[in-house]
Amino acid sequence: MIKAINISKKYAGNTVLSIENLEIPKGQCFGLVGNNGAGKTTFFNLLLDLIQPSTGQIILNEIQVDKSEEWKSFTGSFIDESFLIGYLTPEEYFYFVGELRGMNKADIDAFLVQFTDIFNAEILGAKKYLRDLSKGNQKKVGIIAAFIGNPEVIVLDEPFASLDPTTQIRLKQLLKSVVDKQRVTLLISSHDLGHVTEVCDRIVVLEKGKIVKDLSTSTETLQELESYFTV
């Protein structure tokens, strides 16, 4: 589904990411961990063609992301708050994204029903603009919007950060179910080793832009990761 071939990103001669070969098969839940500055967000930004690769290419379902824009129709993503339109209400934002992905108002309303407990009655019908919601609630809106339109690939950068404990648990269940039932290829990054090992089938550790570990999740994975990050 996703192939990164010889991809690298340099800023003024400084290499921040350099991956020789990475393949993510369809339906895999792929977790990316690493300390600050390891290159997690850079990788996602390259994948979404928001920054230009210095070398190499990323191929999403046979489409090279910086050559064609066709991949956008089956990729949902949420990186940070700059993905939200502050002067829309959450509903309007969902409708807007829905419209770009060929879903009408009724489709979106039906789609949103399954997230009622995540929204916790604070988001839908609150008659507030997104800019007036709390950081956590904004994040919920962004994450849910990434699921609109049955995407085949979903990219979430640090989805668990700044969410309340209840929502973190619900989000984990949600992520597992989309991967299991809909065969979605899910890419997440996280600083929380517990969450990411619980959700993902495969975990890649980045350090200074390079892949240093590529693990298939098992019962020992969490311990292995913890000992790796204990310096």
Binding site: I51, I79, G86, E91, K128
Partner: protein, 492 residues
């Protein structure tokens, strides 16, 4: 401490991507500054002989004070439109061990070194030197020059009070226009003769130098008001304020008929209506519609068709000039999202084009009552509308691909006055000057009808080649995509 503040700002200025991309504009600003300096120098030197010539019966040193009132009003107007409020990104400083008063004093004192305070000196000093060379007493001239300087600073701080108060209102131009025009009217109809009051007071100052304390006290008073005003704003709850009132949503279902561009058009309409800054551009439209009333009733302008073309372009194009020059910066705060969504650049830009086009047509229709002043005015408006739709829209969209300055829509008004400086007016200038020039050339070489035809033909050509032009413009945006994303995610 002041040195440290200055270092911060220096870095902010030179490290912003905006600076690096707009060297041309900065050079233009320098030239504009030089131009004003030369103009003021000329005024300072020529003022004395001119007063002598036109008012042979009165002493020029007395006569000049009759004009000080107008000078001060002009100064105030110029500052309101061109001088930016002293800004500083204060939020990171608030939690540091710094006295709040220190930050405010710094911001205010910094404004004292503004070019707009320097400029009057280029007229005041030469005029004073001329006075001295004509054997006026040293003491009187010094007091005069000094009090003029104090007045300049009073206007400086007065302007900030007016500007920050009026930026809190919906219609930011109204207070200053009301103030200046009512002062002028009261003066003109001799209800309260401010100009002679000012003249009498200055003459008194020159005669008895101790009176200079009065303007100095006024200066301290306006400074103090500014200080109180700013220190009250040094809390972040301005920007943290929760939107407690519930918002009304409108489906704008009529836009559905427009097909693929509908979602973007809806977004743009909401953008304009729900954010203060773009909303004020809408309110400007109402103002500009009346702009023609200044020119059309006056027969002298009827002889100057170039001027009428200017009015026509301005009236039918005011929205596109104000809105269009910030495409796509209006969407800068969520540009990342737009770029990773299922969006074609073409439809995105097309919706902006249609919006600007619709505004030109609407403004043309609204300006139809001007037919009262003659059919040729309607014709000029029509030609200007066609030119705006065919040419200026594409120029604006093309220019947008050079846009590198983020607009923070959701920032509170306090300490946030982006894009309200001289630069905005400079960008609008070629959009209006070029059609006037084109009209004027064919008007002089052939005749009036040819001038009108030139504008219409250019506009129609633009519309005919719309697809081709858009293709080219879309290419530009694609090429600049990464640079724009990087610049828009920079918050300063």
């Amino acid at each position: 401490m002041i040195a440290r503040f200055m270092k911060l700002e220096w870095k902010q200025f030179f490290r912003s991507s905006y600076w690096q991309k707009s060297i041309a504009i900065n050079i233009l600003m320098v030239f504009l500054g030089l131009y004003f300096i030369i103009m003021f120098l000329g005024l300072g030197l020529a003022l004395f002989p001119m007063l002598e010539k036109y008012f042979p019966d009165t002493d020029p040193f007395v006569q000049v004070n009759n004009f000080v009132f107008y000078w001060l009003l002009g100064d105030l107007m110029m500052r309101f439109f061109l001088q930016k409020l002293p800004v500083m990104d204060v939020k990171p400083l608030l939690v540091l061990p710094l006295k709040k008063s220190k930050i405010v004093h710094y911001v205010l004192n910094k404004s004292a070194s503004s070019f707009f305070n320097l400029l009057p000196l280029f007229a005041i000093i030469p005029f004073s030197l001329v006075l001295l060379s004509k054997d006026y007493p040293m003491a009187a001239v010094t007091v005069w020059a000094f009090s003029m300087l104090v007045f300049t600073f009073i206007i400086n701080f007065l302007n900030f009070i007016i500007e920050s108060k009026s930026s809190e209102t919906e219609f930011s131009l109204l207070p200053i226009l009301l103030l200046v025009s009512s002062l002028l009217a009261l003066n003109q109809f001799n209800i309260i003769s401010f100009s002679s009051m000012v003249a009498v007071s200055i003459n008194y100052l020159v005669a008895s130098p101790w009176g200079v304390i009065a303007p100095i006290l006024i200066l301290f008073a306006v400074y103090w008001v500014n200080f109180k005003m700013l220190i009250g704003k040094l809390y972040i709850d301005g920007s943290l304020k929760k939107g407690t009132k519930s918002v009304a949503t409108n489906e704008l279902t009529w836009t559905r008929k427009l097909g693929a561009i509908a979602p973007f058009l809806q977004l743009d309409l909401k953008l304009i209506w729900r954010n203060k800054r773009p909303r004020s551009t809408i309110l400007m439209l109402v103002m500009s519609l009346f702009y023609g009333l200044i020119f059309y009733p006056n027969p002298t302008y009827q002889e100057m068709p170039g001027m009428l073309v200017f009015v026509g372009i301005f009236i039918t194009g005011i929205f596109m000039i104000n809105f269009g020059q910030f495409i796509p910066a209006w969407d800068s705060s969520y540009y990342n999202m737009l770029m990773s969504q299922n969006i074609k650049y073409k439809t995105y830009l097309d919706s902006k084009y249609k919006l600007m086009m619709a505004s030109a047509v609407l403004l043309f229709v609204l300006s139809m009552p001007y037919v009262y002043f003659g059919w040729d005015i309607l014709l000029i408006h029509f030609a200007a509308m066609v030119y705006n739709i065919g040419v200026n829209t594409h120029v604006l969209l093309y220019g947008g691909s050079f846009n590198r300055k983020q607009i923070a829509l959701d920032k509170s008004a306090a300490f946030n006055y982006q894009g309200t400086g001289a630069v905005q007016w400079i960008i609008g200038f070629p959009l209006m000057a070029l059609p006037i020039l084109l009209f004027y050339i064919s008007y002089k070489l052939i005749n009036y009808e040819a001038g009108i035809a030139t504008l219409i033909i250019l506009g129609v050509l633009g519309m005919v080649f719309h697809r081709k032009l858009m293709k080219f413009i879309v290419q530009r945006y694609k090429k600049n995509k990464y640079a724009m994303i990087a610049a828009f995610s920079q918050s300063n």
